[in-house]
Symmetry: C2
Subunit: 372 residues, 2 copies
């Protein structure tokens, strides 16, 4: 039985402005001109989070079995970033319809090629420090699919994160594999704190594993409108007219997430209680600082920077092209994020990193799209 | 009787790094690419502090009677900044010898041209908001020179400034003109505070007015070595050999300030108790913020900047040449100075603005002279 990867690469990533832009979202960020390594990809300059995701899965799903679900406006950039993935397997959604239609389409496409396919759906913009442990968790999840269960991977929480989705563990099916009792989306802080010590809740890492035909059946049961659209896509594909059908059908598909549309409704989801594999969703500049190499004062600085009485700062020189030398000097400031992209400069405290979205909101309000 | 201006333009101005450099000190800073006006020269983009100094004095000392005392490494840049001043009147000191030798040489040069000359010595890098009041103070000071007194201008202190020099008022000689009781250099904070309310101390604005021959006599009395060197310069000039003599004599002159060498020793210095003419020594980025136009949140920002929950910040886009558009975004930061020169970026709290010298010290220590 072959495993196929469906990489979810539609994310906009405004939380990394000004590094991320609409046409260069977080998952595409890569080679960065500073000696400390990329803030988003400490594992080797030049490798984007997306490319790392594909490489990480290669022992299980090599490039010829990788599909990428993304938006039409990103398809070319993604194809360029993944030259080893066949171009036809970059699935460009004509309009954004949340995750269920994109996954449905990808699953249908895979199933046409291989009716027995196992599918791994994974985000394109997360970080994994320990790739062997990650692969072990994936293999365990694929085991779960033998019992025709859609299986997900849960990560033991190491801190209270009200922004995350949580999975409540049910009974153990086999060592490390559990029933999902329920999904809990964005708990309040008190509950998130209880989850850390309680040992019954895991972070939902947004990865799903299933037999292609099982997911199609679940869609038919819980999202019949989507299933009908996918049927019409299959019929059109058989006639060699999928592109036209896609443009017609996709905008009419229900804009719903796979979590709400399927996972939270299906009765027999399983979850792997994964060993810590150094996972991060790289959710903000704060995460980028956490993942970055830092000096003794907790600063992550471009080479040649000067820091005087400065602690806990992340400074990134992300100017493009053959940028001239620039010395970044910090005096008497702490826990700041400073990002220079040449056309924009951001200064924000680390603890407010999420609020960078306010900047993109204001630029949009101004009608100033050149920097979005 | 003609008045000649001697503009003191040797300052290095490391406190404005990265805007200021060794070859572009504070007094030369001028046209800056932001709509808010130059941080150092709110009176019109493009006019440097030096050019403003010359323009401000023009009603009393037109350009043909302006002399500029500066270092050899700055002479070309200063000549370019002051095209209306005859090139021969840019006096390039071959080595730095503090202020007394430079003033002595300038006074000797002026006296050769006009033995009856009155001389106004003024710094090149200060700011004056009210130029009419300034000229009134200068005229009053020139009156003081009739009694063969070296006369200075004192400014009523508006805040405790331990870093300044102070003048203690003696008896009133005529309305607004006083004997100097004594000079007080850098008092402690308690004394500086007492001076603000006491009404007997004025800030020393570093401007001196005198008959050229009176200063020469004072130098002869208090700095005989300097006087001897100036005599040899005069003799060489009479033979048309001043340049050679300067290279020989200047390095041997005593490296002493005019304040310590003459002003604090001469018995009959006078001081004008000036009306407030909106004086600032523009001593740091903090002063630049004070002088800048600010929005309702106290921010002085480049055009197009985005500020979210940000107050009291000074941001300067000082990139040179036809720089591409750049959006400066501040989120949740207050009272910072952010300066971007393209080859350097500085982030420092306003209240620590003086500590920018630490950065230049570190660059020098590294042997990294390109940014100094």
């Amino acid at each position: 039985v072959n495993v196929y990867a469906v990489i979810m690469a539609g994310g906009a990533g405004t939380r990394f402005w000004p590094a991320s832009r609409e046409k260069r979202p977080k998952q595409l960020l890569g080679l960065l001109p500073d000696a400390g390594g990329s803030p988003l990809q400490p594992r080797g300059a030049g490798e984007s989070l997306l490319a790392a995701t594909v490489r990480r899965l290669a022992p299980i799903a090599p490039a010829e079995r990788v599909y990428v679900a993304t938006g039409a406006h990103l398809a070319e950039a993604i194809a360029a970033a993944l030259p080893e993935v066949p171009r036809a397997q970059i699935l460009a959604e004509p309009v954004p319809r949340n995750t269920a239609p994109g996954i449905g389409w990808a699953v249908a496409t895979v199933a046409r090629r291989d009716p027995e396919a196992l599918v791994a759906v994974v985000p394109s913009d997360h970080f994994v420090a320990n790739e062997d442990e990650f692969l072990a968790a994936v293999r365990k999840a694929l085991e779960g699919t033998r019992a025709r269960r859609i299986t997900t991977i849960g990560i033991a929480p190491t801190r209270a994160e009200p922004g995350y989705g949580y999975i409540e563990l049910g009974r153990e099916l086999s060592p490390g594999l559990h029933d999902v009792a329920r999904f809990v989306e964005k708990p309040d802080r008190a509950r998130a704190e209880a989850y850390v010590s309680g040992g019954k809740h895991l972070w939902n890492a947004g990865m799903f594993f299933f037999r292609a035909r099982d997911m199609r059946e679940a869609i038919t049961r819980f999202l019949p409108d989507l299933a009908a659209g996918l049927d019409r896509l299959d019929e059109a594909a058989a006639r060699g007219e999928e592109a036209e059908a896609l443009a017609r059908e996709f905008p009419r598909m229900p804009a719903i997430s796979i979590d709400h549309g399927v996972m939270e409704k299906a009765p027999d989801i399983a979850v792997v209680r994964a060993a810590d594999f150094g996972w991060s969703d790289v959710g903000s500049w704060q995460s980028a600082w956490e993942l970055a190499e830092k000096d003794a004062e907790g600063n992550a600085l471009p080479s040649g920077a000067v820091a005087v009485d400065a602690r806990g700062n992340l400074v990134r020189d992300l100017r493009e092209g053959p940028a001239a030398r620039k010395v970044f000097a910090l005096v008497g400031v702490s826990d700041l994020v400073v990002v220079d992209t040449g056309d924009a400069l951001l200064v924000i405290p680390r603890e407010r990193a999420q609020d960078v979205r306010e900047v993109t909101r204001i630029l949009r309000e101004r009608g100033d799209y050149t920097l979005l």
